[in-house]
């Protein structure tokens, strides 16, 4: 590491403090224990803007008041804030008076009341009364800039935090400031909704009640809620969140900044999908299939006896289908029940990341400081682990070279060729189009490798490439699993006994099948297994036809109702705290009691002592020997006669939870197919036209959208609109 940065000493309000050179005045004042009030200054949004002028301080030698946020500490600087300088205090009072000039007297109506920085700073620094006598400027309000966010332009103090986020952090450029000067307003284009994966962050950023959440609208006041620190378990990133609860129900989910994992940002699914806990069709009591009377609601004890009897009859022929969303403790209880209690050894693990990758473990923040980032795999990172996409954009803004190699990447590659690309890059003489990238990878001293695809062996290929590049301490390799706690579940299954979980592909009858979670119910292999199993035990939050075939259905719990630990994609084990009570027992209590009946002692209480901001465990294991270069993926015929290679991706806004939140409906993937620019013009298909996808006898009609980044001969569709279609389809105009 470079020499410790040179220290400069500055005196603020007659208190001298020494800070590293270049730290902002606001931070150095904080270090000296002095608060300089700010509105528009937010270090996470990039360079300071100096728009709100709230941080005016007096600096010796400079005649006028200066904006402290834009200045950095110089040696020997003497700064006087409003505490000691009458001029600065007068300046701040004037600034607040200007801000409050057109601010509506909305505090009783406004959702931000009680947690509003403008209220707090006006109380501490502002004028006592208002001299405003003229009619205040009004807009019609609230304007729903999206079904999730309500905008109130009267309250907006034009600090531009939201537009800076939209333009410089999420880079979706949809929330902008129109007009000029005092008549500037925040708006999206015409009346199109703010459709982006991270739109919810502007609500957290807004220091006033201008941008408020429609999901949380008028639900609670800050003195009526409790905030529970937990972790979002809806995707493998594991962002740290505050879950706000009122009267035993989750009211909202807020970001809880973990500088290494999420950087204080949340995607819209994690922020707004918590309302599925209140869905009307949620299962609240166990259901049992009784021969003559079909599905009947039964008390928990009877369900326990039924499960006990069903599993005892099945003997050793039991298979467990995990959905990857369970906590490590739940998976541990289930695994020990099946492996030690019943002596069976068969499991369907959604994710089984290769431990070889632990040798190159790094925090997600390391992506931002990387020089070269490589993304391989067919699935877009934005849909699989959205916050990783933010880190990659931060890296690109920091000057890094971010290269995506894949069907929709900068370097085109046929689908399913990720392993071959890793092998090619690791080889001494890579093929022509990868040669320049391979050179950059070897020369860069900090590299980030990201595998975003479904192939479980990706971990080993990535580790092979990382070993070949001899990645040092500053670099990292990240395999994006499909499920939130896939790693934790696999570790728990393997710890419960030896022998790897194998895929029971045979067709002989199965004694019992335990389906854990809604995601497993959607897996076609599990549905097939359920037909062949004599006894099916399911835990599910919502009833659907797949759950209907099982003999005992237990009401599942959401991630906000669980106590336990989850392991995110970096391998960091984080603590899930229970925010609200589940409708009945939670899975851990049920399976612990069931396991005790089979002689396995499982502790129903979680003992994990993981602290607030979990740290990343050290690197472990050695890098595997470089894998032999796999043959390059079969060179699929480019879309000659109108037939294309179909790439499916699992959209972020899909799944049982998102379907039950009406406000998120507009974010769900449109029924459309993305076509490469060249092929679209060759087949004269323009964006928006109806096209028919045909493979064998299955055909579907979707809207077309031209995506110039797609490799020729590749068509991309969201998974939920492409079921039944084979891997290669023929596309014609409808």
């Amino acid at each position: 590491m470079s020499a410790p940065p040179e220290q400069v000493t500055i005196t603020i309000d007659d208190r001298s403090v020494s800070v590293p050179k270049g730290t902002g005045l606001v931070e150095s004042a904080l270090q000296a224990g002095i608060e300089i009030p700010v509105f528009c200054y937010e270090p996470r949004l990039g360079p300071p803007l100096g728009a709100c002028r709230m941080c005016l301080v007096e600096i010796e030698g400079l005649p006028k008041l200066q904006a402290a946020c834009t200045l950095s500490a110089q040696d020997g600087m003497v700064v006087r804030t409003s505490a000691t300088s009458a001029q600065a205090a007068d300046g701040q009072e004037g600034v607040l008076e200007f801000i409050l000039l057109n601010h509506p007297l909305d505090c009783p109506d406004c959702d931000k009341g009680g947690e509003c920085p403008l209220q707090d700073l006006t109380l501490r620094y502002g004028p006592g009364t208002s001299r405003m006598v003229v009619q205040k400027r009004t807009f019609d309000k609230p304007i729903p800039i999206s079904p999730l966010i309500a905008l109130d332009r009267e309250r907006c103090i034009l600090c531009y935090r939201c537009t800076r986020f939209s333009e410089q952090v999420a880079e979706d450029g949809q929330l902008v400031a129109l007009n000029r000067g005092a008549s500037s307003i925040i708006a999206t284009f015409e009346d199109e909704p703010y459709r982006a994966h991270f739109s919810g962050n502007v609500i957290d950023l807004c220091p006033v009640g201008a941008l408020t959440s429609t999901v949380y609208r008028f639900r609670a006041r800050p003195w009526e809620i409790q905030n529970v620190p937990t972790v979002c378990a809806m995707c493998p990133v594991g962002c740290n969140v505050w879950a706000t609860t009122r009267e035993g129900k989750v009211a909202r989910v807020l970001a809880r900044n973990h500088p290494e994992v999420d950087g204080g940002w949340l995607c819209d699914k994690g922020r707004f999908a918590h309302d599925h806990l209140r869905a009307a069709d949620r299962l609240t009591e166990p259901i049992r299939r009784i021969r003559m009377r079909g599905l009947v609601a039964v008390p928990w004890e009877e369900a326990l006896d039924a499960a006990d009897e069903g599993l005892r009859a099945a003997g050793a022929s039991v298979c467990v289908a995990f959905s990857g969303g369970e906590t490590v403790e739940q998976a541990d209880a289930l695994s020990r029940l099946v492996r030690q209690g019943l002596g069976a050894d068969v499991a369907l693990l959604p994710d089984d990341p290769d431990p070889a990758l632990d040798a190159f473990r790094a925090p997600l923040a390391a992506i931002r400081s990387a020089n070269v980032c490589l993304v391989v795999g067919d699935e877009p990172v934005l849909e699989r682990a959205p916050i990783v996409d933010l880190w990659l954009r931060a890296a690109r803004r920091g000057g890094a070279e971010v290269v995506t190699v894949g069907p929709a990447g900068a370097i085109a590659a046929p689908p399913g060729s990720a392993a071959a690309i890793c092998a090619a890059l690791a080889a001494s003489s890579p093929p022509e189009e990868l040669r320049e990238l391979a050179r950059d990878l070897r020369e860069a001293d900090r590299v980030a490798l990201v595998w975003s695809g479904d192939d479980d062996t990706g971990g080993r290929h990535l580790a092979g490439l990382a070993a070949a590049l001899e990645l040092g301490e500053g670099s990292g390799a990240y395999f994006l699993p499909r499920t939130p706690n896939g790693r934790g579940v696999a570790q728990a299954w393997r710890a419960a006994g030896d022998g790897r979980g194998i895929d029971p592909s045979g067709d002989e009858a199965l004694g019992a099948l335990i389906v854990s979670g809604d995601e497993a119910l959607r897996d076609t292999r599990v549905v097939a297994l359920a037909d062949r199993a004599r006894f099916v035990l399911t835990t599910a939050m919502f009833m659907n036809e797949a759950a209907g075939q099982s003999h005992v259905i237990l009401p599942g719990t959401g991630y906000l109702e669980r106590d336990g630990t989850v392991v995110n994609l970096e391998g960091r084990s984080q603590r899930l705290r229970r925010t609200v009570e589940p409708p009945g027992w939670d899975e851990l209590a049920f399976f612990a009691q069931l396991a005790r009946r089979f002689g396995v002692d499982v502790d129903p209480w979680t003992r994990a002592g993981v602290d607030e901001l979990a740290a990343l465990p050290a690197r472990s294991g050695t890098a595997p020997v470089v894998a032999a270069p796999a043959a390059r993926g079969p060179q699929r015929a480019a879309g000659a006669g109108g037939d294309f290679e179909l790439v499916r991706y699992r959209a972020l806004f899909s799944g049982a939870a998102v379907e039950r939140v009406p406000q998120l409906a507009f974010q769900r993937p449109a029924a459309e197919v993305e076509l490469p620019g060249g092929d679209a013009s060759r087949l004269h298909i323009a964006t928006g036209e109806r096209v028919v996808l045909r493979s064998g006898e299955v055909s579907r009609e979707l809207a077309a959208r031209v995506n110039r980044r797609l490799a020729p001969g590749v068509a991309r569709v969201a998974e939920e609109h492409a079921d039944g279609l084979a891997d290669s389809v023929r596309i014609e105009k409808a």
Binding site: Q174, V176, N179, R180, F189, E190
Partner: protein, 158 residues
């Protein structure tokens, strides 16, 4: 309409970053549409791989970009300090009487739109009026009928 895209590409090549080419691209679009309808923003955004919202935020900042339909001809009267002192207000009222519209409006047949602008830079020579971006100085109230007549002849409007 694809030539607009090619023109924008041609212009964009002269700039290091695509964001710097937004203003010239918007000017090209305004010349083609007469003003900047939503489709113009979509085309400019598609050509420069930006978002229409960003282009509209740039366009709405500048006075010269019209977000509402304007007449074939534009008459802009400088009402800043120097011109006001030498009677720009009377010239404006003369134009309003002659065209039958108020400042900021367009004649019903869409022929002429009248607007007041800030300093046009001709402070030395009496009220400055920019007719189709060409300066006419000085313009006394009595010269107004001639100018309006000339505008009407060229468009043959009412």
């Amino acid at each position: 309409m694809s030539e607009l895209r090619d023109e924008i590409h041609a212009v964009a090549r002269r700039y290091p970053a695509r964001r710097s080419a937004v203003i010239p691209a918007l000017r090209l679009a305004q010349e083609r549409y007469g003003w900047l309808p939503p489709e113009a923003f979509r085309e400019v955004a598609a050509a420069l791989d930006l978002t229409p919202a960003y282009c509209k935020s740039v366009a709405s900042f500048y006075d010269m970009f019209h977000l509402e339909p304007v007449g074939a001809h534009t008459v802009e009267i400088c009402t800043n300090v120097s011109c006001a002192l030498v009677g720009a207000q009377r010239t404006l009222e003369a134009f309003e009487r002659e065209l039958g519209i108020r400042a900021g409006e367009t004649t019903r047949d869409g022929a002429v739109s009248l607007r007041t602008i800030e300093c046009a830079g001709g402070c030395g020579w009496g009220p400055v009026v920019a007719v189709d971006h060409r300066y006419r100085e000085p313009v006394r109230p009595e010269d107004v009928p001639a100018i309006v007549g000339e505008l009407r002849r060229t468009t043959g409007g009412a």
